[in-house]
């Protein structure tokens, strides 16, 4: 069990993947609402309608739902709702915590929690702005090893080649890694 060192980040793109291996390997952080049972330690949102759905979502019953402070004040009486920490990267990235994507917030939160290895599943990099923010976040935090996990694909991704702390891993490689690092 690699809790506190490994975290799986479930991004904004819905993918067909069995997260059992992720749960054994470490913690899981979810971006927004989910429709599958997942033992997520944290789930993150900055949207009020989504937060309302998440509060009532049985799949997130044991998960701490993290939101920006403005939203937290409205839902303070719900035990599993808490506010996000203040991220040192916010100013460098020029982002608004109330409007940016939940996957970016999940990434910043994973880094803030000082997980050594962050595995990105369903992380949207087709959006150029999201891709740019991911690259800048990774560059700002060279001590955190980030793995972009995707379906096995013969085409190589060269977007992260200039970053020593970002690697691309396919699901089979991840499964093998998880098996090797799970007691």
């Amino acid at each position: 069990m690699k809790k506190y060192t490994h975290i799986t980040l479930v991004g904004n793109v819905s993918i067909d993947y069995d997260y059992k291996g992720c749960d054994k390997l470490g913690d899981i952080v979810v971006s927004g609402d989910i429709s599958m049972p997942l033992n997520a330690k944290f789930s993150i949102t900055n949207s009020e309608p989504e937060l309302q759905r998440m509060i009532n979502n049985i799949n997130l019953k044991n998960s701490t739902i993290l939101t920006p402070l403005t939203l937290y004040k409205k839902y303070l009486f719900f035990n599993n709702v808490d506010y996000l920490p203040s991220f040192p990267d916010l100013q460098k990235l020029h982002i608004d915590i109330d409007r940016c994507s939940t996957q970016l917030l999940s990434l910043l939160c994973s880094i803030w929690c000082e997980y050594d290895k962050v595995f990105l599943f369903g992380y949207n990099i087709e959006d150029l702005n999201e891709r740019e923010l991911l690259i800048r976040t990774a560059a700002n935090n060279p001590h955190v090893q980030i793995y972009y996990c995707r379906k096995p694909n013969a085409n190589k991704i060269k977007l992260f080649d200039h970053l020593s702390n970002v690697s691309v891993m396919d699901f089979n490689e991840f499964k093998k890694y998880a098996e090797e690092h799970t007691e």
Binding site: K73, L76, D82
Partner: protein, 130 residues
């Protein structure tokens, strides 16, 4: 002053008390120094009765764990709640029990451990946290 040993004995050691509010003392006991209280046993008795009432009401209306602080505060009695729904119930039922909390709610963030205090603003339709 015998304000101790009156809280629920069944508290679980692992209970995380996320919410904290301060319940104001009854009018006669507000803003009294320890020195004054030592000279006024009648006020101390009033405070003891108040605490007994609080303990009874909490046992009656709260569903989860709570803790009433033993330490004397000039502003009132600090009460810690495990459940936000219990705290909500405690706030909305203040007129029923003729007491008043300081209009502030403190919470402990489960991720960061940060202790933060928010203002409670009463409105005709309910209350807001700001």
């Amino acid at each position: 002053m015998n304000l101790k040993n009156m809280q629920k004995n069944t508290q679980n050691k692992d209970t995380f008390f996320k919410y904290i509010v301060t319940l104001k003392w009854p009018q006669v006991a507000r803003n009294r120094s320890v020195e004054t209280l030592q000279e006024r046993p009648d006020i101390v008795q009033e405070m003891n009765h108040f605490r007994e009432k609080l303990e009874r009401v909490c046992k009656l209306i709260l569903k989860k764990e709570y803790k009433i602080e033993d330490k004397f505060h000039i502003s009132g009695m600090k009460i810690q709640f495990e459940s936000g729904q219990d705290l909500y119930e405690f706030i909305v039922r203040q007129p029923e029990f003729e007491w008043e909390i300081l209009p502030k709610i403190s919470t402990v963030n489960s991720l960061t451990g940060e202790y933060k205090t928010f203002d409670l603003v009463y409105q005709p339709t309910g209350f807001n946290i700001i």
